[in-house]
Structures are given as structure tokens and as C-alpha cells.
């Protein structure tokens, strides 16, 4: 988060606000409600209180204006600059201006008044723009369905006004850091030749042209998908990706969610009602077999016959020895299968396996394991990797090697 230069703030934390005029895009009640909710976001995490007044000069004056409205910061018509606000202070200080050339809404359509008001009030209270894409104070408009202060926003406002009087200090969601070595994933899937990782409200991906990992909101591509997806896989021959959360799933083609979704997982796939959610899923392009991982079991579904294969579910250990249970996410890449598993630390059996595999006794946690490709198994640990030779049942010489040296991007 960033505090406005010079650290301006309101001395009195009990502030008044007045809506001087209303946009014709919304009913007066909807506009009042949107702005009231925006104030509540900030008062719920700080000692600030806000009282709406209907006449006279309030601390924070809110208005809908267009073009040059004589504050030396003219608006620019539709799109681009949506609104602005002034830092705490007398007169125009704290005031918020919304560009009336925009369409103001109380739903997904551009632009959601509640979302923009929550951002602008951050400026009225002394916050500048944050570089955290998950923060409300990020400069660009992103509406991911719910409007909530991130931990970054909460830390910012509390840096100015202190904690809320609320006995339990409110916390907000943190934005995943793509290089965080402790990062685990909700789901991973290939999609049209790329790999997308999912965590909370965000997706992450890299591509050969932009080595910097791209992190953004899932809602950017699929506004109607829920946050916190649990599994995802691509059926390449149908150019379809399926996302799972709880006992439902969605199917998308590119950025379009297919009609009639979400559906329950039971009838189309044949899961028993005892299955309440899927941990991870991957579909083998060449065989059309899709593996579903649920706790310590796995199912195999035939995409062509559109039915579960006989003999399933099996224990994961039976079909995928060494992977462990509770797979976080799985995807297929270049013929290899890479498992992103929750750390298998603490499961004595695996630690014994690790040491018998030839890992040094100090080895504590493996971050990812590949499938068997030409009798080789790759183990990824932090920034190094080992290659295990299934024929000789031993680690190959010359390992560990640095991942970045051999797996560019």
C-alpha cells in the first residue's frame, strides 16, 4: 500500500459525507446503497465513522460530473478515467467525483459504482495507489464479483488511523506471490497450449513471450466462475476446459462459459453422492482418459465413452505410487504428468522412501514429482531437481541440477 505524499489525514475520525447529485443510471436508493456500503468497508476496519448529511458542506462531497468540471482535472468521456478523489483536507479535500460519461451499475456490467466508490474513498482518507493487483487501491478497474478490502488495503488504512475498535481485528485476503516457494495451488490446467495455475481469486500463467509470470483475476476471463476453484482439466479434442468447485462444475470454451452450467458432478460423470468435491483432475490427451483425485482415491473417466472405467475408484497409491494422498492439483505437459502435491513432509513412509530413493538425509519436502517418462522420474525440490532412473532404481549421477537451467520459463 502507499500513503499519499505528505501523509494527509483527517484529524477528526468522525466524518460527514453528502451526495450532491445523482447519476441517472441508477435509482437514487441504489446509488445511496452503493456509496453507503463503500463507506462501511473502511469504517469496519478502522476507528473512522461516516454520517450522511443531506445539505450544507460535508467533509466528503460526492458528485457525478463530466468533462471539465473546474477542478483542474477534467474527465475524458467514456472509458479511461472513471473517477477521482482528493486527499483529506478542507474545501475540495476528501471530495469524490464520478465521471457521468460512464455507465454506473450495481452489477457485473461496467462500471460497478460500489467498487469504484470503495477505491475513491481510499484516496479521500489518505491512501494512494497500491501496486498489489488484489488491493482495492490498485489503480485499474477490476471487478471480480465481490468488493472486499484486501489485507494490503486494511494495513494501509490502519497505518494512518490505527486498528478498528472491533475486538477481533478484521483481516483480508492476500494476493499470492508467484515466486513464493511455499505457494500451493487450488487447480492447474493446460488451456490451448498454455498452463494456467489457480489460487483463490487469481490465475497465474507464463508464456514464452513474457517470462514475467502474469497474475490476474480469474473473473477477467470468466466473470461467472467462483473463486477458490478446486480442480480443472482440459479436454483438448473438444477445446473445452472444465472447472470444479464443490459438487458442481463449469465448462468453458476459451473465454465463453458453455450454456447450462454449472452442473452437478454426479450424473454426467457417475460419481457417488459421497463425493462432495474433487481435489484435482487431469485428462490424458492421447487416451481420452481423465483421472479424478478425491482424498486418497482416484477415478478414471473415459471421455469418449463418457463413463467411468470399471474397477474404479482405486487408491491413489495403487495407480500413482509415491504421489501421496490429497493431491492439490495436476496437469499434463509435454507428455509428462507433473503433480503439484501438498508437501509430503511428515509422512514417515515417504520420508523413508525419499531416503531410500537416494535423497540426502536432510531432504524434508518435495514440491513436485513428474510421472514416468521413458523410465525417468523427476523430483522437484525448491530450485533444484533430481532424476530417478526406474531401470536402475537409483538417482542418476550429476543431480541435483538447477531447474531454471534445464526448464527455461
Amino acid at each position: 500500500f502507499v500513503l499519499t505524499q505528505g501523509n494527509p489525514q483527517w484529524e477528526d475520525t468522525h466524518l460527514t459525507y453528502r451526495i450532491e447529485n445523482y447519476t441517472p443510471d441508477l435509482s437514487r436508493a441504489d446509488a445511496d446503497h452503493a456509496i453507503e456500503k463503500a463507506f462501511q468497508l473502511w469504517s469496519s476496519v478502522s476507528p473512522l465513522t461516516f454520517t450522511k448529511v443531506s445539505e450544507g458542506q460535508a467533509d466528503i462531497m460526492i458528485s457525478f460530473v463530466r468533462g471539465d468540471h473546474r477542478d483542474n482535472s477534467p474527465f475524458d468521456g467514456q472509458g479511461g478515467n472513471l473517477a477521482h478523489a482528493f486527499q483529506p483536507g478542507s474545501g475540495i479535500g476528501g471530495d469524490v467525483h464520478f465521471d457521468e460519461d460512464e455507465r454506473w451499475t450495481n452489477n457485473f456490467r461496467d462500471y460497478n459504482l460500489y467498487r469504484v466508490a470503495a477505491h475513491e474513498l481510499g484516496h479521500s482518507l489518505g491512501l494512494a495507489h497500491s501496486t498489489d493487483i488484489g488491493a482495492l487501491m490498485y489503480p485499474n478497474y477490476i471487478f471480480s464479483g465481490d468488493v472486499q478490502l484486501s489485507q494490503d488495503d486494511i494495513s494501509g488504512i490502519q497505518a494512518i488511523y490505527g486498528p478498528s475498535q472491533n475486538p477481533t481485528q478484521p483481516i483480508g485476503p492476500q494476493t499470492p506471490q508467484v515466486c513464493d516457494s511455499k505457494l500451493t495451488f487450488d487447480a492447474v490446467t493446460t488451456i490451448r497450449g498454455e498452463v494456467m495455475f489457480f489460487k483463490d481469486r487469481f490465475y497465474m500463467r507464463t508464456n514464452p513471450f513474457y517470462p514475467e509470470a502474469e497474475l490476474n483475476f480469474i473473473s477477467l476471463f470468466w466473470p461467472h466462475l467462483p473463486n477458490g476453484l478446486q480442480a480443472a482439466y482440459e479436454v483438448a479434442h473438444r477445446d473445452e476446459v472444465r472447472f470444479f468447485k464443490g459438487d458442481k462444475y463449469w465448462a468453458v470454451k476459451g473465454q465463453d462459459v458453455l450454456y447450462g452450467y454449472p452442473k452437478y458432478i454426479y450424473r454426467p460423470f457417475g460419481f457417488p453422492r459421497t463425493v462432495k468435491n474433487i481435489d484435482a483432475a487431469v485428462s490424458e490427451e492421447d487416451t481420452g482418459k481423465t483421472y479424478f483425485f478425491v482424498a486418497n482415491k482416484c477415478w478414471r473417466y473415459d471421455e469418449y465413452k463418457q463413463s467411468m472405467d470399471a474397477g474404479y475408484p482405486k487408491m491413489i497409491a495403487e495407480d500413482f505410487p509415491g504421489i501421496g494422498n490429497n493431491v492439490d492439483a495436476v496437469f499434463q505437459k509435454d507428455g509428462n504428468k507433473f503433480w503439484a502435491v501438498r508437501g509430503i513432509e511428515g509422512q514417515a513412509g515417504y520420508l523413508r522412501v525419499i531416503h531410500t530413493l537416494g535423497f540426502p538425509p536432510t531432504m524434508r519436502k518435495i514440491k513436485a514429482v513428474s510421472g514416468k517418462e521413458k523410465k525417468k522420474t523427476y523430483f522437484f525440490v525448491e530450485d533444484e531437481y533430481w532424476r530417478f532412473d526406474e531401470n536402475s532404481q537409483s538417482m542418476e549421477q550429476g543431480f541435483p541440477r538447477i531447474i531454471a537451467d534445464d526448464f527455461s520459463g
Binding site: N81, I133, N207, Y210
Partner: protein, 84 residues
């Protein structure tokens, strides 16, 4: 690059006007009325462009590549990101 696959072509250096205006509005680039074309590769523009790319976690090149232009075209708040 919000597409599948992500935008892969380096766009021609276009929308110089967009870059100039964006940096004036949000990164305090002084507009001294000079012809935009001449300013394009001037130090202040390159410096401000690098500031913007750093702020948004983009590859800091000082050049208006596709990724940078894509961010500049997104709707946003009118308050500057730097030196308000």
C-alpha cells in the same frame, strides 16, 4: 495479453499519443507542447515509462510494448500513480 494464447506479437510502436497522455496524466510527465513524435524516445518519456512498468510489475523496458499498452488502455482511477 488477456487472451489464449497470450498476446505473442510485439506490436509496432503505436499509440504514441496514448503513451504520452497516460504518462502526463498519471506519472507527471511534463508536457511542454513539443511534437509528440520528437518526445517519444526522449529520456523523460523513457524514464516515466519505466516507472509505470515497474509500478504494474511489467517487464521494465522503457518501450511501449503490447503488454504495457494493454495496461494503459484499461479503465482506471484518475488519481496519478506518482507525484500526485
Amino acid at each position: 495479453s488477456h487472451s489464449f494464447p497470450a498476446a505473442t506479437t510485439e506490436t509496432q510502436e503505436q499509440d504514441v499519443e496514448t503513451v504520452q497522455k497516460y504518462l502526463e496524466n498519471y506519472y507527471n510527465l511534463k508536457s511542454d507542447g513539443k511534437q509528440v513524435e520528437r518526445q517519444r524516445n526522449s529520456d523523460p518519456v523513457v524514464e516515466k515509462l519505466k516507472q509505470m512498468q515497474k509500478f504494474f510489475g511489467l517487464k521494465v523496458t522503457g518501450k511501449p510494448d503490447a503488454e504495457t499498452l494493454n495496461v494503459m488502455k484499461q479503465p482506471r482511477c484518475g488519481v496519478p500513480d506518482m507525484d500526485q
